[in-house]
Structure formats: C-alpha cells, structure tokens
C-alpha cells in the first residue's frame, strides 16, 4: 500500500494548555482508501484533522503529504465542515467553482467542472439557487462538490453528516461512496456514529488517548454493508469497537 499521508510522532499542545491534546500520534493513510475516525468527544479528532489540513502546526513531530511536510492549508487537502461553511452570497455554482476561481482557472474550465460535479451530487437543477434556500442535505452535497472541484488528493470530513436526519444521511453516504468509487480519491472521515464509521470506512481509526492509545487502526470487513445484512457477527464487531472507546 502506498502511503499518502504520514503522521509521525505528532504532538499537539494548544497555546496556553497545560497538557497536550495529541501525544506522539502515528498514523498512515493509504492512497485511495476511506479511513473513518471515531472516538469520544474531546479526544482530539478535530485537532488531528486540523493539523493534517494545515490549520494547526505540530508542536513536535510531522505530517507528510506524499512525503513532503504540510506547511499550511493547501488545495490538495480538501475539507468539508460540519456546518458546510458555504458562502451565502454566492449561488450553488459559484460556491462549487470558488476554489477554481481563486486558482485562476479559465471560465470555461470552471464551468465544465462545476457542471460535472453538479450532476455527480444530483443538484444540476439547483445550480443558480442560493444556499439559504437549500435543505441541509443539499447544502452538504454542495459542500462536498466544492471540496472536490479542485481535484484534491485527500478530502477530509469533520462530522459533516452529524446534523442530518437519518434518511438524508443515508443518501449522502451513497453520494460519498459513489464519488469515491468514480474518482479514486482518499477520504478521511470523522464521525461520532459507529454505524457510519463501519459503513463508510475501509479501515477504522479509533482514538482513545485516555487509555494511553493515541490512535489505533483496524480493518473493517463490513465496509459499505447493506443494512439488510446486519447480523449477530456485525453486532459483535460493533460492540468490540464500542468497548474499546468507552
């Protein structure tokens, strides 16, 4: 497996804090996988994502993208926030095309990429609408499309689906999985929902710093499981994860 992200002995202490939030954490993310991350609230999931995304600089240790240190936010590392952070003054197309415009792509190139993405997230009919007129699920799909427009190498999600109702969340899971299959990207998905972690992750990273294990990655035989096939084995697997966390 080729590594795309390498986190090496990462320690992160917030300025003014008396103890580190991340302590000598090591993690490899493989090119083309979906890694889901779970852990108790406050265990440092967002801190890890923010460091990989380049918003925070390691106190010690390093984070590499393709072997090169990450020095700051970068279009190669896309991020989808929980509250989508879409720009209310731009319509759907302009939100999706924002990154390409900042990077001075030609208008025609932007238009063609935006229109492909609009189809992929099934929002072609909403292209001229403003974000405030969309439902929560549609907004999240716009946010995903916006993060994908730059064709980043890794796309990170910080509890991006947590605020959605169950049906909408299921639709979004399918959108995410379809995009992953067709675009061969690497996804890093933080969630507080174990079923979501199992459904979406090729591998699952469990963060339990309170037990002295900063992060541990396990294989997931139930990736993209059909909910009809949930059985006793699945429940046992899920319970094992739960027991590691609590």
């Amino acid at each position: 497996m080729e590594k795309i992200i390498e986190v090496k002995d990462l320690t992160l202490t917030y300025p003014g804090a008396d103890k580190s939030t991340l302590d000598a954490l090591n993690l490899d993310i493989n090119r083309g996988e979906i890694m889901t991350v779970i852990g108790k609230s406050g265990c440092g999931k967002s801190t890890l994502l923010n460091t990989i995304a380049g918003y925070l600089q390691p106190t010690s240790g390093e984070v590499l993208l393709n072997g090169e240190p990450i020095t700051g936010p970068n279009w190669k590392l896309g991020v989808v926030f929980q509250n989508n952070a879409l720009y209310p003054w731009l319509n759907v197309s302009d939100n999706i095309g924002f990154g390409l415009k900042m990077r001075h792509f030609d208008k025609s190139k932007i238009e063609s990429r935006v229109s492909t993405l609009l189809d992929q997230v099934q929002l072609a009919d909403k292209k001229d609408d403003y974000v405030f007129s969309l439902s929560g699920g549609m907004r999240q799909r716009v946010a995903i499309a916006r993060a994908l427009a730059n064709q980043p190498q890794v796309v990170m999600f910080d509890e991006s689906f947590g605020a959605l109702d169950e049906f909408t969340r299921n639709d979004i899971h399918n959108v995410v999985l379809d995009l992953w299959k067709s675009l061969h990207l690497t996804f890093f998905i933080i969630t507080h929902d174990i079923d979501e972690a199992i459904k979406l992750g090729n591998r699952i990273a469990i963060m339990t710093p309170d037990k002295g294990i900063p992060i541990k990655v396990i294989d997931n035989p139930y990736f993209n499981i059909d909910s009809a096939k949930i059985d006793a084995e699945y429940m046992k697997y899920k319970n094992d994860i739960l027991e590691q966390i609590v």
Binding site: P73, V79, W89
Partner: protein, 258 residues
C-alpha cells in the same frame, strides 16, 4: 429564520389622520395663536409659495439640495475611508491599536462641540461643514466594519484557505462580503448621525440650507416656514432610511437568512 412581525398599516394611517384632525381643530377653533401654531392650510400654502418664489430669494429646492449635497458628500467620503480602515483594523492588530483609541475618543463628542474650531481652521464655507459631517459619519462606519470582520465565521476563512485562496483573496472574497451586512448597518447609522449634524450646523453657521431656513424663519416668527422646513426634514429622513434599506436588501440579500 425570524418570523416577520405583522404591521397594522390601517392603525398607522388612522393615527396620522387623528393627528391631522386634532391639528385642524385646534387651529380652526383658534385655541392657540396662529403665530405659534399655523393651520394645515397655511402650511400647505406656504409650501406652495416657497416652492414658487423661494425663501430669501433662494429657491426652496436649492435650500434642500445644498443640505443633501453637504450630507451625501460627507457620507461618501466617510464610506470611502472608514470602510477600508475599519476592515483592515478588524484584521490587523497593529493598525487597530493605532487608530481605535483615537476614534473612540472622537466618537462620543457631539460634533457641534468642535464645529467652531473647524470653522476657525478651514473657514465658514462648505469645507468646514463637510469635514464636520465626515467626522460625525466616520466612527459608526469604522466601528461596524471592525465588528463585521471580527464576526466572520472562522470556517469560511478555513475553507477558502483549503480551496487555494491567498490571504489577499480571503480578504476580498470572504471577509469583505461577510462583513457587508454590518457595513450597511454602520452606513445607516452614519447617515442618521450626519443628518442630525447637518441641520444643526446649518443653524449655527450658514446662509442657505433647510436648517438655515428654519432658524432664519424663527427670527421673524414665521412659524409656517418653520413647519414646512421641519416637515421636509422629517419626510426626507424617513425617505433616506427607506432608500438605504432597499439598497441593503438588494446588495446583502442573504443577510438574516440561513
């Protein structure tokens, strides 16, 4: 989303009608002397006369226009300077530390308090008036810009950075539009401040303008002219604010929705 509060327009109109009727009654029953309270007809006929023949040899529209020109030129100058300075101060602590205390110092001083000083410095003409109004309008816009910048959703900035925006692009494409609703609030406050100040300044030192017309008429006890001037000021004030609200709704159409 905030539910719109119902407005009973019928009651609003009825209240005005009652006021008019009371005014009419009080004057036609001669409860108060005409010199203190002119009748509605008198005010209307004075308005028509003033429109035809002007006041003190100067057309009424000219009095009105000069007041508006003083007001608007000062507000435009304030917008051009306070918006960039406020936005930058909201972002860069060094600039903030440089300007904020000065503006906090000037802000609570009633502009008329330093008007005479301005007249001594730059003369009694238009410059001192525009500078005075400019100083009155500057602080509300500047402070609104700072608060607008400080309120910008952090995730907006982080997403822009992850989408490849440079710091300059973040400023123009994210921070500026995010702060626009606050900028508008600041501009509306500034226009209100400048409007009060322009009338006061015209009363102190001018030879034309609606404020001057009112104060001049008071010297000759022409209460009908004073009424015309005051009514023009009231209607103009409301119209200005409504006009700004319409523009605001067009430009920051997303404000308040989410």
């Amino acid at each position: 989303m905030k539910a719109r509060k119902k407005h009973y327009w019928g009651i609003t109109v009825a209240t005005w009608l009652v006021l008019l009727v009371v005014w009419q009654l009080v004057t036609s029953l001669k409860i108060t002397p005409e010199i203190l309270l002119p009748s509605p007809e008198k005010v209307i006929s004075t308005f028509i006369n003033l429109s035809k023949y002007g006041y003190n040899g100067i057309p009424l529209w000219y009095h009105f226009m000069i007041t508006m020109v003083r007001l608007l030129s000062a507000v435009v100058l304030a917008i051009i300077t306070a918006v960039p300075l406020g936005l930058i101060s909201g972002r860069i602590r060094i600039i903030y530390s440089m300007f904020d205390s000065i503006i906090q110092f000037i802000r609570p001083i009633p502009p008329l308090a330093y008007y005479t000083l301005l007249i001594l410095w730059v003369g009694i003409g238009e410059t001192s008036k525009v500078v005075l109004l400019y100083l009155a309008a500057f602080a509300p816009i500047y402070l609104a810009c700072i608060s607008g910048v400080q309120k910008v959703n952090d995730d907006y900035i982080k997403s822009a950075e992850s989408l490849g925006a440079t710091p300059r692009q973040v400023f123009f494409h994210v921070i500026f539009p995010s702060a626009l609703p606050d900028i508008f609030t600041g501009i509306r406050t500034a226009v209100g401040m400048a409007y009060t100040t322009v009338v006061a300044a015209e009363m102190v030192a001018a030879t034309y303008g609606i404020g001057w017309m009112i104060i001049n008429a008071s010297k000759y006890l022409k209460s009908d002219v004073m009424f015309v001037g005051i009514i023009i000021l009231g209607i103009t004030g409301v119209a200005l604010d409504q006009f700004l609200k319409v523009i605001e709704r067009k430009i920051v159409f997303w404000s308040g929705k989410s």
